[in-house]
Symmetry: C2
Subunit: 209 residues, 2 copies
Amino acid sequence: MSKARGPYSKGVAKREEILRVALEVVSENGYHNTLNRDIAERAGLSPTGLMHYFGSKEELFIEVLRARDRHDVATFWDPRRDFRGFLDVIAHNATVPGLVQLYIEYSAEASFGKHPAHSFFIERHERTRSFMREAIQKAQYAGELGPNVQTEEAANLIIASADGLQQQWLLDPSVDMVAHLERLWDLIRAGSWADEKSPLVQEAQAFRQ
Amino acid sequence: MSKARGPYSKGVAKREEILRVALEVVSENGYHNTLNRDIAERAGLSPTGLMHYFGSKEELFIEVLRARDRHDVATFWDPRRDFRGFLDVIAHNATVPGLVQLYIEYSAEASFGKHPAHSFFIERHERTRSFMREAIQKAQYAGELGPNVQTEEAANLIIASADGLQQQWLLDPSVDMVAHLERLWDLIRAGSWADEKSPLVQEAQAFRQ
């Protein structure tokens, strides 16, 4: 960021501090219980002062989601970028329900084209999908997954399941998100080694016609 | 409904009409672009008159979701209650983005305990899960699925994927929700026939240790 040089650097540092504080407050209180005032107070600012750094509550929260992704990728994912790293992120999510609420809420809002989170979620989905494709291919090179994987569809299914499971988990915290995603991976693995020419599988496929 | 008898029946009929109208308006305009005024107008009521039948916008929209489920189950699902019926509901969803928006928005809101949609989504999830377990068992009886299915987890994965795919589809209408869910079913099928004792599968499993 070019703004990090010269007279702007103090502002950039304060922005970073606000994001760190906002991440904490949302993790502790959840999205719906977080007021601008709470974040401003903990960052030693007035609510108006806070809005000097972020134009709107939406902009602030999108930056919170972005900061969270950076943190998760740095801590759990990079440079391994494999499925285990992804599961580590999900396991970590189970410790920060407030952030999962924010993520679920904004990804729903993003589906309405006019919400400022729209382009953030489009880009995020593309990035996650490309990570996931890499993870699948890496597992194929390693021999963990066999040759029969529809990589694009499998990647979308993993991401869709992770999103849906986070929603189920918010409704019922006993849902084990990681165990379910491991199961999905097992299914992808079973499909990847399935011999589509075996009589059993052909017989089963006949039901689809 | 006992209210359908006697002096209440006219009110019940009007309520039904409002729900029908609201379903139409949300299907056409989407959730975020639907005002109470639009629904009231088309039902021949004032906004205040509308609120006489439904205490709040939230209550009205939860009833819209309930009416939509009744319609979908009657049209696509009952009495077959098999996976194909579920896919028919999803294919139908792709023709009513406004309702999918409403569903996604309210299921996100429902994850905050205090929202009036909370108990609706808990009950709905339990019902969908029990349908899905039935669909899996039915496919096993029919010989389409083999013996190795973790029914509970598979049911949750299908529901989670369907929810997550609807979100992906709202962001990118080219996502083929039905094709992805058919792929997931194929994976469950592959897993259901997988011989966990085969050397290939055991070798692959060793990667998990």
